[in-house]
């Protein structure tokens, strides 16, 4: 018995020690530093204390006990941020109602997902773990840091990052609910209705509570509070500006629709995801101040992306829309630097503009631009180190740090990087995706409906 308690204590201490080592002290020496926001600095050192960048300059000296990384001949850039991903989640869709704003993917984080390690191996340090696109209003999302190695789901959260929620327009919600369940929305008209109705209900709820709170301050007040409803509370928080909407969208008309709906309800924090036809309404997006997170070149995998162009990011950017390149895929998240480089082929963006698409712009869309997304003093030390320029297709990510802790080191990379091996899990069967490039990751969890509809399995 005593022995058991001892082991239990030992375990607690070990996990405790793990939790404490979430930040590191490090000096990165003599690299070509791509700050993204403040130009490129040759032969420059970056000093990191307690997970934060404290100094950028030449010939810096590491205090005792600091980890020193020689980055001579290497490129040092801010950790890559993916504004649209579904890694580190054990479920993606609560595909049961057109509005499931009450659910939160942060309740389903999976720190054991090896995709986190593979993302680190591509220099990606932060991702936006999103609910799927089965519902017009999906669940709330979680911004995570890729602290792979921890078994504590809470340790993945980027504490203090703003709340975000997934919306979805077009084919996915109309297929799942209209065609699949025979309820609104079956069309893009219905999608607008679901969102307007949800906002209207949220507004009514918010006003009831505001009235109650005001009244409860008066002397001798004896009324009962309105019934609590977390779904409506979430809608109210969107209207209050406490939650950023990240909306899965493709066609210009539906993007324009949501701009109008949000304008009518005074909602300003709006980021469009995928937004393949965003380029067609770029002036309207810029005028609203809405942002866009796009694929570099995905198109034609469904009808609503047939009239797309790989020049989308460049058109949006040149029209003044804050634009990022995302992955929505456990494969692409491993080479977002290459996806960003495609904006140079399709639209001739500069190195800094291209790199901003996977760093500072994505940070702005998640509301974390004061903490990450560039190499600046005071920012968190999420840093990726490359052999070769990160926008070259021959580049190789070598080291990735999150909060100053090395989480990926190509030189020390082992064959098997799983944290925990399920003894009952299959080890011999491999998975091959050849013609399935996971374009439907957004619909993971809604497969039953899809099988029923289209018979694919």
């Amino acid at each position: 018995m005593k022995l058991k308690i001892f082991f239990l204590l030992l375990c607690c201490t070990w996990f405790g020690a793990q939790a404490q080592s979430l930040t590191g002290n490090v000096l990165i020496k003599n690299g070509t530093v791509l700050t993204v926001t403040k130009g490129t600095l040759e032969n420059t050192d970056v000093l990191v204390k307690d997970g934060k960048i404290t100094q950028i300059g030449k010939n810096l000296v590491a205090p005792a006990g600091y980890n020193v990384i020689d980055a001579s001949g290497m490129h040092v850039m801010p950790g890559i941020i993916d504004a649209h991903s579904h890694i580190a989640l054990s479920v993606v869709n609560e595909a049961t109602q057109p509005n499931t704003g009450q659910v939160f993917v942060g309740d389903a984080l999976d720190p054991l997902d090896v995709s986190i390690y593979r993302a680190l191996a591509g220099g990606c340090t932060t991702s936006h773990a999103m609910h799927g696109s089965a519902n017009a209003i999906g669940g709330q999302c979680e911004t995570i840091k890729h602290r792979y190695g921890t078994v504590d789901a809470d340790a993945l959260r980027m504490d203090g990052a703003p709340r975000t929620i997934k919306f979805a327009l077009g084919e996915n919600p109309t297929r799942v609910h209209g065609s699949g369940n025979g309820i609104v929305p079956r069309t893009r008209m219905g999608v607008e209705h679901v969102i307007r109705q949800s906002f209207a209900e949220g507004k009514e709820y918010m006003e009831k509570w505001d009235a109650y709170k005001a009244a409860s301050k008066t002397k001798g007040f004896r009324g009962a509070p309105p019934a609590y409803d977390y779904r409506l509370e979430t809608m109210a928080d969107i209207l209050r500006g406490n939650i950023i909407i990240h909306c899965h969208s493709y066609r210009a008309d539906e993007i324009y629709m949501l701009l109008n709906v949000c304008r009518d309800f005074g909602v300003k924090k709006l980021v469009f995801q995928h937004v393949n036809e965003g380029f067609k309404v770029a002036p309207e997006l810029a005028q609203f101040g809405a942002m866009a997170s796009v694929f570099a070149d995905w198109w034609a995998y469904k009808f609503e992306v047939y009239y797309s162009t790989a020049y989308n990011a460049a058109i949006l950017h040149k029209n003044g829309v804050v634009t990022s390149i995302n992955s929505d895929s456990e494969e692409l998240i491993r080479h977002l630097y290459h996806e960003a480089a495609k904006t140079q082929k399709y639209g001739g963006l500069t190195d800094d503009e291209a790199l901003a698409m996977i760093t500072i712009n994505a940070a702005k869309q998640l509301g974390i631009e004061n903490r990450v997304g560039s190499i600046e003093v005071g920012k968190e030390a999420d840093i990726a180190i490359f052999k070769g320029h990160p926008l070259s297709s021959y580049t190789i990510p070598m080291l990735t740090l999150v909060d100053g802790v090395v989480r990926f080191d190509r030189e020390k990379d082992a064959d098997d990087q799983r944290i925990y091996v399920d003894p009952k899990g299959t080890t011999d069967n491999a998975t091959f995706h050849k013609y399935f490039h996971n374009h439907e990751n957004c619909l993971e969890g809604a497969e039953q409906t899809m099988v029923k509809l289209f018979g694919f399995n």
Partner: protein, 436 residues
């Protein structure tokens, strides 16, 4: 008077420029071309600096320095630019699908487990919007694969220019065999290990049964000089493979499936054969090399097939196979994004294959595998003028492809994607419809 004439001249010039800019469907151009002052990557005969390539009658007429320019040739000055043979993607479904989620636009997956008589070439849509998007990237030639079942059909090598399948045909067809597969097909494949094993065993039994029937058919057909055997189109389609006259393209990805396929090939004494996919080829590279069978590897930008494999296995696979002595061509397995072939090659190069070998894997090696090296795969006199001109290393993302020639046709550097860029970069009207 002079002033108004000038105005008219300017107006005409402007009109001509505009009508050129707004031409909706520009056509290819055939003729005699002299590509001068270029750095020519011949692939098979080294690099020629300040070189000239002459294109006439659809062929490369001359390559080298100090080449006389034929009278009447259109001269394209390639100073500071590079000439490469057109890139070949050895596994796509280009032409057989327009919008992959919509079954009304997919033609790669016919009903039936054994339908090798279904010919990809029949269903290739020369007017697919995906084709111009692909060819302006320098990918000029692709294998278009039927897929889905055990013998889903016969693949075809096509050039990405032409108005009929015959005009596009590039001289190779091969029967596709999806070797009984022990792997999962995706996240939605929720079969148990037992179910997978049973399905694989059953598939293997069926494959051997089909092959036995084809062998019988071959014997009867030979004995009767092709008469009196009856109409068995699926067996007829397998005959040329059985007789060693046509290539069998065997897809196998899991290492034990590759091993099983190698054993099966040996057992059945199949002469012309290529392994495709081979995502876990690196695990059994020596076996493949020993068998002397070429492979079509890819997609290279892919996740490893197993959670416990190194993150970069798919990137490194082509290089590991090549080092073991295997002949390696590359494929994207894509349709709409076959244009990314050069980046799959770049990843293979960076993760161990090297640039020279990676370039061969998308040019001369597939040309050899498909038996069309007399026409494609390198810049040599007498070969088809299927090539492109670019302003840098074609595997680098920011490099622009300047000109593309396919069978001597100069391809318009326009696709729907470039047209949308031209229309929407500065949309008119902008936010306000009324002109200020």
């Amino acid at each position: 008077m002079k002033k108004s004439l000038n105005t008219i001249a300017i107006a005409i010039a402007l009109f001509l420029t505009l009508s050129y800019t707004f031409a909706q469907s520009p056509k290819g151009k055939y003729g005699t071309f002299a590509l001068t002052h270029a750095t020519v990557y011949t692939v098979t005969k080294g690099i020629i600096n300040n070189g000239t390539v002459i294109i006439r009658n659809g062929k490369i007429e001359a390559v080298g320095t100090n080449i006389a320019i034929p009278s009447g040739a259109e001269v394209i000055d390639c100073k500071g630019q590079f000439i490469y043979p057109g890139m070949i993607d050895s596994g796509t479904r280009l032409g057989l699908v327009e919008v992959s989620s919509d079954p009304r636009t997919t033609d790669f997956n016919e009903v039936g487990d054994v339908v090798p008589q279904m010919k990809a070439l029949t269903a290739v849509n020369p007017n697919s919007a995906l084709i111009p998007v692909t060819r302006v990237s320098g990918v000029t030639t692709v294998i278009s694969n039927p897929e889905g079942s055990m013998f889903p059909g016969t693949a075809a090598l096509i050039n990405l220019h032409g108005y009929t399948p015959d005009q596009m045909f590039a001289g190779f067809e091969g029967v596709v065999l999806n070797f009984p597969n022990t792997g999962r097909r995706g996240f939605w494949d929720r079969r148990t290990d037992d179910e997978i094993k049973k399905a694989t065993d059953k598939a293997m039994e069926k494959l051997n049964d089909v092959w036995d029937k084809a062998t019988q058919y071959h014997k009867l057909d030979s004995a009767t000089n092709g008469k009196g055997v009856g109409y068995y189109p699926e067996l007829q389609a397998l005959l040329p493979v059985l007789r060693g006259k046509q290539t069998l393209l065997i897809e196998a990805n899991a290492s034990k499936d590759i091993t099983a396929a190698l054993k099966w090939i040996k057992e059945k004494k199949i002469k012309k054969v290529v392994l495709t996919g081979v995502l876990e080829g690196w695990r059994v590279a020596d076996e493949i090399a020993k068998a002397g069978i070429p492979v079509i590897a890819g997609p290279v930008q892919a996740v490893p097939s197993r959670e416990y494999d190194r993150y970069d296995r798919a990137y490194a696979n082509p290089g590991l196979l090549r080092k073991a002595g295997v002949k390696v061509a590359l494929q994207t397995g894509q349709a709409e994004n076959v244009r990314n072939l050069p980046y799959h090659a770049a990843y293979a190069a960076a993760y161990g294959m090297g640039q020279e070998e990676a370039l061969k894997a998308v040019t001369i090696v597939p040309a050899e595998i498909f038996g069309v090296a007399d026409k494609l795969g390198s810049i040599e006199v007498g070969k088809s003028a299927t090539l492109f001109i670019c302003d840098g290393d074609p595997f680098e993302t920011k490099t622009n492809i300047k000109h593309v020639f396919i069978d001597g046709w100069q391809i318009p550097m326009v696709s729907r994607q470039t047209q949308l860029y031209d229309e929407f970069l500065q949309r008119d009207p902008g936010v306000n419809k009324a002109k200020q």
